[in-house]
């Protein structure tokens, strides 16, 4: 079995991305999980990428190692994916959110620095996942259907950031509020069990890519993996 080297912000996230890779490529992987500390900034991500890719390159010979890095978009307004916040709404973001840079572009630049400018020449198949705004967006789209741009932007309804963004009206339930209620409605006490259920019973990658541009970008990365390891 091929090795899938995952660099994520949460242990449960790695389960989701591993499942996505399995569903899109049709292959099973042996996971090697590495974590980034949440909120550690792009400098730490670059450092993590350098160390992680060093490890991957050492294991690459004969192991068929693939590399997947994932980071939430968290309202970075200039995200490449079309489901990012539209320009007219960006001014309502907090200063911290407004000044976030495009994470996909930052990670791609870091990857090019480490692996070379020509992606076709990279020694390891790579995928970058930047869910807009966070992994819960994709989970909700898989579970409930709908379009990415219709989803809320914040984690919790009672957060100060959500309140300020929606002022003067009170914010509706946000991504993690909605995730919790959908999971409860579907009868799953365990978050990871629910994620596995969504991936293997409900995820339609092609359909989800149409409804979520950020998932579409991720799928493009997975689709670019060597054809021998991909099933359409």
């Amino acid at each position: 079995m091929k090795t899938l080297y995952l660099l994520t912000e949460d242990d449960s996230d790695s389960l989701f991305y591993e499942g996505c890779a399995q569903r899109v490529t049709g292959e099973g992987f042996t996971p090697v999980c590495r974590r980034m500390r949440k909120g550690s900034g792009i400098g730490a991500v670059r450092a993590s990428l350098r160390i992680a890719l060093g490890e991957v390159s050492r294991m690459a010979v004969g192991s068929g190692a693939h590399f997947l890095v994932a980071m939430d978009n968290d309202r970075a307004p200039h995200a490449q994916a079309a489901d990012a916040l539209p320009a007219e709404q960006r001014t309502r973001l907090s200063k911290a959110d407004f000044h976030k840079t495009d994470r996909h572009a930052e990670i791609l630049a870091a990857l090019k620095t480490i692996l070379g400018q020509d992606r076709a020449e990279w020694s390891v198949p790579v995928a970058v996942a930047i869910p807009v705004e966070m992994i819960e967006s994709w989970l909700l789209l898989i579970a409930c259907g709908g379009q990415a741009h219709e989803l809320p932007r914040f984690a919790r309804q009672d957060s100060e950031r959500a309140r300020r963004f929606h002022h003067p009206t009170p914010p509706p339930p946000q991504l993690k509020d909605r995730r919790d209620s959908v999971r409860a409605e579907e009868g799953f006490l365990d978050k990871d069990e629910w994620v596995l259920h969504l991936i293997f019973n409900k995820l339609e990658p092609v359909d989800l890519a149409k409804r979520s541009p950020s998932f579409g970008l991720f799928k493009q990365w997975l689709d670019s993996w060597p054809r021998a390891s991909r099933v359409n």
Binding site: D11, S12, S14, L15, E18, P31, C33, R34, R35, M36, R37, S40, G43, A44, R46, A47, S48, R50, I51, A52, G54, E55, R58, D192, E193, L196
Partner: protein, 403 residues
Amino acid sequence: MFENEQFPTTCQPKDEIDAAAESPNPARRHQCCRPFSYLCLLSSASCSFPANSRMAQSQPMRTVEFCSLFFFDWSTRHICMIKQIHLENYRSFVDAHVDLAEFTLVLGANGAGKTNFLRAFVDCGAFLIPLLRPSLKAPAKGQPLPKHFNGADRDVTVTFFSGTKSLPCSEYPSQRQPGRGAVELFRLQPERISASETTVPHAFVASDGGGTTQSLESLKNGDQEAMFDAAHRALISYVPEIEKLSFANVQSGQKQMQVRERGIRGPVRADQLSDGTLLIIGLLAIIYQPIKPPVICLEDIDRGMHPRVFEQMVKLMQLIAREQDVQIIATTHNPYLVDCFQDEPEAVVIVEKKDGASTLDTLAQKLEGLDYDNIKAADMPLGNLWFSGFVGGVPEFLHAKRQ
């Protein structure tokens, strides 16, 4: 007892000691193992500090009586520090060895074997006495040490190395020696630290923190004010709200710690202090107590402490380990604490469990396989590196779910 050769009665020739002591080079002088401190152990004796010793220079009295204890000149211990340990078929270890520093930090996921690693020192502690003090006899052997679950048919051995010497242990000592041993494993309990206690002249801190009041009180009122003042200065520096630590008479012969806090009119009794403050007091009492074990093992050293406090505490402990010839082995789960060892990755031991067996590596060994030299420390401090899993010692969540 000793596998390779008998330990010499002194670790360093006298003329070498004298030459080192007179050397203009401070590092050379530091290597001098002229007697300067005494560890009280088991029977009764009295001791005098040599006139030119550091202890004698800092103490107004040169003769100290230790009732029901005998003294242990462990000035030689600096050279006889435990430099490596090898665990074979012991508890969760099948075959693991690692180098040790004066202050060793032990990392690992829950259940990886950190506590078993510390237990090796405690289980064999009594046998370490002749390793650290060659003129003393080893105690009689007792029951065999506990074996690995899968290794009932194999021998169990814990071997300590000090330079070219080795000390293999396969059994517990025949009976637990009374008083302060060569190794103590501290698991501090705040309520034991704050308890009121009967004062005694030659107190020491017990493994749960009991004896803290006795120990600090005996420093203050037992002609060792300099040591008490040093501990006191450290305390008010780490917990700036505290202005003064003192001892109140609560019953006949019993005292309890109390502190003066900024802005509070009356004294605050120790049992009203926060757990974090009590744990800081407990740790200070351990490292400043006059009767210190040569090897101090500390579980969860940073428990209840602000990251900026334990940064200072680590520096203090490293200094005490170096200056007072104490070996400290401490466990943590805190990445910020690991950051404090940026310049000493060889002093960090990582315990991992692989296929049911605990393994040991130093962080320095783990870093050798990484491209860490090209990383800015600010972007990826050591604690971050450990948390991320790049050097192991992290829990494997979701393993069962993946199956």
